[in-house]
Every structure is written in C-alpha cells, then in structure tokens.
C-alpha cells in the first residue's frame, strides 16, 4: 500500500509543479487534472472510496471541464508577454521562501501526530451520508444556502431580456 501511496504522491506533486510552471494554458489544465486524479488515488488508498469517486466526478470531471471550456472560449492557449513578466524570479522568490517557512512549521508540528493507517476498513457511502446528515447537518445546510445564493444570482444575471434581435427574427 505504501508504495502506491508514494507513487500517487509523486505524480501529484510533479503534475502540480508542471501545472504552475507551464506556459500553455490548456497543457497546465491537463496537468492539474492529472494532479486531481492522483489525489483521488490517495483518498482511495486511505480507505475513503466515496470521497475518491467524488473527487473524480466533481473536481476532475465537472469543474475542470468548465475551466477548459472558458480557456477554449477566450483562446488563451498561447504564451503571452505578461506571463513571461510574471514568471521572473523577482516575482515568485519571496512568496516561495515564505511558503517554505510555513511548510517547515507544518512538518515540525505534524511530527508528533500518529500517521493514518491506510489498511483500516473502507468507509462506505452510507456511513458518509449518515454522518453528513446527523453530525454535520449544519455544514450541509450552510453549503445548501450558499449554492442557492449562487443559483439565484445566476438566474438574476440570465433573466435579462435579449436586447438585440437577429435580423431573421424581426417581425416587421
């Protein structure tokens, strides 16, 4: 099990680095999808098959398709001048140092926590559902309200009448 975990983890890290450093937007998105799939494999190895499946369906399957859709529509697949400017070391070196400091503190604090055993019994969808609708009911309700707000906002934006009518559809 551990070997598979390390393989998936290495794939996730490498593909994420490729996603950040790539210059072609679509190729970067493909690496990001690969990274999400690798994370899903890690979830599966940690005996959470339901979350693994949802990771693939929702993140890799639905959200990333929308990203690719927008990227295709705007046609920003090609390299741009501004991208080159942003990728200068001056721009990313300070945030990276700060992030490394954070990582070190995280690792130091995690040293005392016992690792999760990957060999325990798998958590089935039923158990996830029961705990969502009993212990974490408030969280589910809040998420539902947030989504509802999104739906209402989308309806408000989409409900505006079309002002320009195609010349074939004009009645006069």
């Amino acid at each position: 099990m551990n070997v598979f975990f390390y393989i998936a983890a290495i794939v996730a890290i490498v593909s994420t680095i490729m996603a950040i450093s790539g210059k072609n937007a679509i190729h970067s998105l493909l690496y990001l999808i690969l990274s999400l799939l690798a994370v899903s494999v890690i979830f599966y190895l940690l005996s959470a098959p339901f979350i693994a499946a949802l990771e693939v369906i929702i993140y890799a399957g639905a959200i990333m398709v929308l990203f690719i859709f927008v990227t295709m529509m705007l046609n920003i697949g090609l390299e741009r001048e501004s991208e080159n400017k942003w990728l200068k070391p001056r721009m990313w070196i300070v945030p990276s140092i700060l992030a490394v400091i954070l990582l070190v503190t995280l690792i130091m604090s995690l040293k005392n926590v016992a690792p999760v055993s990957p060999d325990k019994e798998a958590i089935l969808p039923k158990q996830v559902g029961i705990s969502l609708f009993s212990t974490y009911l408030l969280g589910v309700e809040i998420a539902a309200i947030l989504l509802m707000a999104g739906v209402i906002g989308a309806y408000h934006l989409g409900s505006q009448k079309k002002k320009v009518i195609h010349r074939f559809l004009k009645t006069n």
Binding site: N24, L30, P49, F50, A53, I57, G61, A62, P125, K126
Partner: protein, 314 residues
C-alpha cells in the same frame, strides 16, 4: 488466473460487439429505410467490418501541422480508456465481473465525466473552427446531461441500498427496477443518448453544419478510435440500462445468465439504432432547454418521491 480469463472475456465481448455494430447498424438502418445496405462481402455482408478495419489501418495517419500534437494524439486514447475501464464494474453474469466495486455506479459516472475531455481536447487540439465549435457544444451538452444522469440513478441506488452493480442486480430478483423507477429509466435513457452523442443528439458532430464536428481533422486509426469508441459507448450505456433497470443477467433458467445479459443489451442497442433511423436532430438551444427545464426537475422529483415512499414503507 481466473481474473485473466474474465478480463479477456469482457474485452473480447465488448470489442467484438462494438466492431460488429458497424455492420449491424448499417444493415438495420437499411431495413428501416427500405433498402439493402452492405451485403457484398461474405455471407450477409458481415465481412464488411473486416474490410472497413483493414481500410482504416492502411489509411495515412495524418497529424495536421497546425495542431497541438501531444493533445491531438492523446484525445482518442482518453475516450477508449474511460469507456473500456467502465466495463470492469459491469457484471456480465453471476461471478462474471472483473471488479465488483462498492462504488460501482460512481466509478461509471466518474469515467463518463472524464470521457468529455476526449472530445473537448480533440476539438481544441485540431485548431479548426468547426472542430472547436463541435467541442464547445459537446462540453456544454455532456456537462448538462451528466448532472441528471447521476441523479436519475439515485432512485435505483436507494431501492437496492448499494452502489455496487452486482448487488443492484441481486436486488432485482423480485421485480425489475424499470417498473418502480420508470421515470428514472426514461431520464437515464435520454441522458445516455446525449452522453454518447448519438443521433438525435449528435449536435457536436452535426455533419450538415460542422463537417464532422470535433473529429474533422482525424484520419486513419485515430478516427477509427473515435468511431469504435462511439459504438463502445452505445454498448456500455445499453449494458448499464440492462443491468440497472432490466435485471442484468436475471431471466428464465433455460438459457445461461450471460446470454440474458447480452440479449437485453443487444435489444437496447437496437433501440438506439431505431432512434437514429426515426428522429430528427433538435436545435442546440432546444436540447439545453429539454435538459435543464424538463429532465432535471423530473429526476429531482423522482428522487424525492422514491425517498419518501421508501421511508414510509420502512
């Protein structure tokens, strides 16, 4: 060793059905359109499949110089891989399943949502305006129909109390699920046609408007993979309909269970082809309206009523 045989059997059945369908579809369409169809190569023209395959292998496999080469080559492979992977969780008969997963239905939904990439990336990498329009239509269409494709199956999951295809078939020993879940069956069937973008929902490749849509630039075996992938998709959706709503391998015992599964699958494949022969293609906005305004509320309602009845009966 047993697994090797099962995997080989599943692959053999799936791929030979998919290849044979090319001939079956042309002959059936001809029957419904009152003509003969391919009948020259071999008995009843069944050698037509072999002839077509040889032709595809010997065609020049041209990658357009203006395309995004790695993505262009990758795209048809994604389609084949996602569809063939899904066959792993479908039970062909008792003990004739590669991997009886307890998240079987989610595995199928995940693979079908990854299959969208094949078409989107194929269309984008071709760097051709018709391909791009086809890819955009495909992504919007498949994303829409995926939403309630999953929702329409949740009634079945609630009744069988499991995501595993094997357990769902076993739960249908009393009555097949298309009787209590008729709405779910209709919604899933329509969503299945849209997911495989078959006629009447073949808007991504509408040949009257977009040349051949997302695969306009593909030739040789890469085109062949899209082509066979489409037939594999039909086989897969028919197999899943047979498994989830029509009792899978269950049937009278004078024939082996695998036969019943294949018989039901083949019946739905024929329905797919009949739909192609009989229905015109809707406009793009009509397709989206049907999805969001009719099928999505219908599947939510079905979910609600099924849940209420199940709680009431408990």
């Amino acid at each position: 060793m047993k697994y090797v045989f099962i995997i080989a059997g599943v692959l053999l059945i799936a791929l030979s059905i998919a290849a044979g369908l090319i001939w079956v579809e042309r002959r059936l369409l001809s029957v419904w359109q009152d003509r003969l169809g391919p009948n020259r190569v071999g008995p009843f023209g069944i050698g037509q499949v072999v002839a077509d395959t040889i032709k595809l292998f010997f065609k020049e496999d041209w990658v357009p110089p203006f395309s995004d080469r790695p993505v262009f080559v990758l795209a048809p492979g994604i389609l084949m891989a996602t569809i063939l992977l899904t066959f792993a969780v479908i039970p062909f008969g008792p003990n004739f399943v590669v991997f009886d997963s307890n998240i079987g239905i989610l595995f199928f939904l995940g693979n079908s949502s990854l299959g969208v990439y094949s078409i989107v990336l194929g269309g984008w990498a071709s760097n051709n305006k018709y391909s791009l329009i086809g890819a955009m239509r495909a992504s919007a269409q498949m994303l829409t129909y995926e939403v309630f494709m999953g929702l329409s199956l949740m009634g079945v999951v609630m009744m069988a109390d499991s995501f595993s295809f094997y357990k769902i078939v076993e739960a249908q020993k009393g009555a097949w699920f298309f009787i209590p879940q008729f709405v779910g069956f209709i919604v899933f069937f329509i969503a299945g046609i849209a997911e495989t973008h078959r006629l009447p929902f073949d808007i991504p490749e509408a040949e009257g408007e977009l040349v051949a849509g997302y695969h306009s630039e593909y030739s040789g075996m890469k085109f062949g993979m899209f082509f066979v992938g489409e037939y594999l998709g039909i086989t897969l959706i028919s197999g899943i309909i047979a498994t989830l709503f029509f009792g899978g391998w269950l049937g009278p015992s004078f024939l082996p269970p695998v036969f019943w599964f294949l018989f039901k699958t083949f019946f739905f494949i024929c329905v797919f082809i009949l739909l192609r022969a009989s229905l015109p293609r809707p406009r793009y906005d009509q397709l989206m309206e049907l999805g969001w305004k009719i099928l999505l509320p219908l599947s939510l309602l079905n979910l609600l009523i099924t849940g209420a009845i199940l709680i009431f009966l408990k």
